[in-house]
Symmetry: C2
Subunit: 183 residues, 2 copies
């Protein structure tokens, strides 16, 4: 089966501070012409910070699009030219105050491949030591330490609804259960 | 800690076929004024279709934003006024040809709460019987049956990168392991 969609034309629609939008004219496998609106952004690094005694560091912040306070694993956008692992270390420090001896890439995720090109680089952070958090001046974010079992319960009871957090936590829980990760 | 961001002004930026964009002027907890670009769409239903012998039905399609063929659990946008469970039954049938005796809501996910209001309603579909798939004329999508263990392997080895698929499959795998779901 053929799937590929050839781009015929790219039209910039919007340039924002967080994302840009392009309208693509594409040719479908059956030769028909259609349009795809695509959100473009630089991607982000996402961190599952886990302590030796099986606690996870989560951050709480107001997410305006969903009008809710959301409990999530730490994450932040890649700066221009920044390597994902550098971004992970920087965002972990900024949002939680923790530094990690070891950052291990475990997964790449596309949060919304139907309409956004965003790519998330997911890392486990281990060997954690606590310093001072330093969020951006206008970033209202609060970090806390939770037992992994408690976080899994919050996923199961619907308290945690952020897709990257559900995916990242369940992935790491499985690594611990299978012995692929040892604390 | 205060988190809430009050909306001062809402400005429509773009109306597309898949999503609209609004620029919100908001007041931060410290009284400062800033802007939030928000993607608005009607949300979607997502289905984890699982057979009595432990197979999962996945769909393969070209995702233009990431320029890749992506292997995912079936999903589709809510039609205007449609209930999520109706949408789940409709999309399952359209994309895979399967009808489900039982659709059980297991989770709500926000794929990108930093910039999109999208909400995903995740269902398990059981009691599956195969009919004829009926995708939209210009939807190039192909469904296949995979052992759950094989799907988990494809998550672990990076073949599957779609966030809702990783979250949905690992959630259901855990339900089976804990006995919360019996096939």
């Amino acid at each position: 089966m053929k799937y590929y969609e050839r781009t015929i034309k790219t039209e910039p629609i919007y340039e924002g501070s967080i994302f840009d939008i392009e309208k693509l004219t594409v040719e479908l496998p059956n030769g028909k012409i259609t349009y795809r609106d695509v959100i473009r952004n630089p991607g982000a690094s996402v961190i599952v910070p886990i302590t030796e005694d099986g606690h996870v560091i989560l951050v709480k912040q107001y997410r305006k699009p969903i009008e809710e306070v959301s409990l999530e694993i730490p994450a932040g956008k890649l700066d221009h030219g920044e390597e994902p692992i550098q971004c992970a270390a920087r965002e972990l420090k900024e949002e939680t105050g923790y530094a990690a001896k070891k950052l291990t890439k475990i997964m790449t995720l596309h949060p919304a491949p139907a309409f956004a090109d965003e790519i998330l680089h997911i890392f486990i952070a281990t060997g954690l030591s606590l310093g001072e958090a330093c969020p951006d001046e206008d970033e209202f974010i609060h970090s806390g330490k939770y037992k992994l079992d408690e976080v899994i319960n919050m996923i199961q009871d619907g308290t945690i609804k952020d897709a990257k957090t559900v995916a990242g936590i369940l992935f790491v829980a499985r690594m611990l259960e299978t012995g692929d990760l040892k604390l």
